[in-house]
């Protein structure tokens, strides 16, 4: 992408999200669930793009979402409003993209962020929570639950439906537990206000 774009421009009603982690953590599935919750179980549009490359096996991989109340033409994100970091490498690679007033959501045992004034931040020990449920593999679903609680992007029920519809048959119960655990952690630990999704439109920005 080009060098001289004005990154301060923001499209009203549009939220840009990046989710990153290492290959195997379920980054893309987490993105799929959030997108599905918005586009199928709630009244929004959501375009999911996964970074897809040889590098996505084991090292930093990521998925991006453009979520909007209206039609999404430009499907890519430029500066994200919400940055979900599940690994330190992913955090290092992408944290500069987060808007100055954006929100960082991170795996607090794996990511040690540099906090910036103006940015909101919420950490969760999602791997430890998943392990306490018996399977570390559901770490991403814990994170999705935490995301739901912190951002309130769509109603919880929409997110829960999307989890149910996206996980392998036979694992629903475990995954729902993981989702609830993440959600509960957000409710219990996070008292800061949620991301303001209804910012006033910036001037001269395409709708």
């Amino acid at each position: 992408m080009g060098k001289e774009r004005d990154q301060s421009e923001r499209t009203p009603g549009r939220i840009e999200i990046r989710i990153t982690g290492f290959g195997g953590q379920g980054v893309v599935l987490a993105g799929h669930i959030i997108g599905c919750a918005c586009a199928i179980h709630a009244d929004k549009q959501a375009t999911l793009i996964q970074s897809f490359g040889p590098e996505a096996r084991g090292s930093a991989c990521s998925a991006t979402l453009a979520v909007s109340d209206g039609e999404i033409f430009y499907p890519y994100i430029r500066r994200n409003d919400i940055f979900v970091a599940m690994s330190s490498e992913g955090y290092e690679k992408y944290h500069h993209e987060l808007r100055d007033d954006g929100m960082l959501i991170y795996e607090q045992d794996l990511v040690h962020p540099t906090f910036k004034p103006g940015q909101k931040a919420a950490g969760v020990p999602s791997t430890r929570i998943a392990e306490s449920l018996g399977r570390a593999i559901v770490q991403n679903i814990v994170m999705v639950g935490f995301f739901a609680g912190v951002t309130r992007l769509v109603p919880e029920e929409a997110m829960r439906e999307a989890v149910l519809g996206s996980v392998p048959a036979g694992t629903e119960e475990l995954n729902l537990k993981a989702f609830s655990a993440g959600l509960d952690y957000a409710r219990r630990e996070i008292t800061t206000p949620t991301l303001d999704l209804k910012r006033p439109p910036a001037e001269g920005v395409p709708a």
């Binding site: 992408m1 080009g2 001289e4 774009r5 799929h32 997108g35 599905c36 586009a39 199928i40 549009q45 959501a46 375009t47 999911l48 793009i49 996964q50 897809f52 490359g53 040889p54 999404i72 033409f73 430009y74 499907p75 890519y76 999307a162 001269g204 395409p206 709708a207």
Partner: protein
């Protein structure tokens, strides 16, 4: 006729373009797919191979792309709607048998999820540089139809259209997706089966005694008899007469090959499928297709906000080219801007039709990512400035 419900996954789904393309094929009635999976098209056949057993379809993973395309030609001649799926490197290998399909007038669909080329290029990243290959890739004179979807929803809708067009015109239809659309996930609404119009194979009603495979019956496209139904059956890649037998003469060549070209070129507006926006009073018109059309949309919005009346023509059927529309616009606009993920393919076709009456600004990019909307905006503003 209406779609067979067995192949239609009615409902709202969160699907990527590849999966949606696979669903479109199954909804259209495709029941035979042969392919050699390749990134970024693999998910199309993953989807189909998982779902085909529920509807009596057959997927064969072939030894290579040459064999895949050959199998598709054979599959289609049994009367089964047939498709193959690939990306650039495989598309190159399929060219010989795509020519065979064109010469034998075999309805089939070839999906190319375009990645950056040439050669193995950028396996996991976007490109749009196979557009001319889709049209001219095999040797000799023939015409094909090519479509380009801009979203997963269109990957579904237009795959159905691709099958329908291949049946109507008996040509291989090139489904020119790109990696971005293929790997992008969005809401895809699949209608009820009885809301999906599908074109069945036009089987001959003539008797076995009178039927000849390439005799015309009031239509530029001959009637079809399935292999194995007991009809006189001969078809070949050699120049052939109406019996389907080789006949090496200039007269036969004229009759045989000219018709392959005429049946598409003569279709005119029937094969024009574009989306026009704001072209009535436009000073500059952006012509785009596939993922680039979505990126261009942002540039067009920005240009309008800067006071430049900017129109858009989105090519949905790319080949045959909407010549009448572009020729007509060339007479009244100040310039065309053509962004595409290559160094000049569709822009050349636009230049040909503009024929010097207005300038054509190509916004090229070798692929790997999409354009910066600002790069397209810059050309729109430049085109408007030159006009002023």
């Amino acid at each position: 006729m209406k779609a067979d419900p067995a192949g239609v996954l009615t409902g709202a789904h969160y699907l990527d373009g590849d999966f949606a393309c696979g669903e479109g094929a199954m909804a259209a009635g495709c029941r035979f797919v042969a392919g050699y999976p390749i990134t970024p098209s693999t998910e199309v056949v993953e989807r189909i191979s998982r779902r085909f057993p529920t509807m009596g379809g057959t997927f064969i993973q072939m030894e290579d792309e040459l064999a895949s395309m050959a199998a598709v030609v054979g599959g289609s001649w049994t009367g089964t709607k047939s498709m193959t799926v690939t990306s650039g490197p495989g598309f190159s290998l399929m060219m010989e048998n795509i020519g065979l399909a064109a010469m034998m007038e075999t309805p089939c669909v070839v999906v190319n999820v375009q990645r950056g080329g040439p050669s193995t290029g950028l396996p996991t990243m976007v490109g749009q540089a196979d557009m001319m290959q889709a049209r001219w890739g095999s040797h000799g004179d023939y015409e094909v139809i090519a479509l380009s979807p801009q979203s997963p929803q269109e990957a579904f809708d237009l795959t159905v259209e691709a099958f329908n067009l291949s049946e109507i015109y008996r040509v291989p239809v090139m489904f020119m997706m790109d990696e971005c659309v293929g790997h992008m996930t969005e809401r895809v609404v699949i209608p009820e089966a009885d809301e999906i119009e599908v074109v069945p194979r036009r089987l001959t009603e003539q008797s076995k005694e009178e039927f000849l495979p390439y005799r015309l019956n009031g239509h530029l496209v001959p009637e079809f008899a399935r292999a194995g139904d007991g009809y006189r059956f001969h078809t070949t890649g050699l120049t052939h007469d109406e019996r389907g037998y080789p006949l090496m003469s200039a007269d036969c060549q004229e009759a045989c090959v000219h018709r392959l070209v005429d049946k598409i070129r003569g279709a005119g507006d029937d094969l024009t499928h574009i989306e026009e926006d704001g072209t009535d009073d436009a000073e500059v018109v952006v012509i785009s297709y596939g993922i680039t059309a979505r990126v261009a949309r942002m540039a067009i919005t920005m240009a309008r906000e800067r006071g430049v009346p900017t129109g858009s023509v989105r090519l949905i059927v790319v080949w045959p080219f909407p010549e009448r529309v572009i020729t007509e616009l060339a007479g009244r606009v100040a310039g065309f801007v053509v962004p595409e993920l290559n160094y000049g393919q569709i822009s050349l076709e636009v230049e040909r039709l503009a024929a010097g009456r207005c300038p054509v600004w190509h916004v090229g990019h070798g692929g790997g990512t999409v354009h910066d909307p600002e790069a397209i905006l810059e050309k729109i503003l430049e085109a408007a400035k030159v006009a002023a």
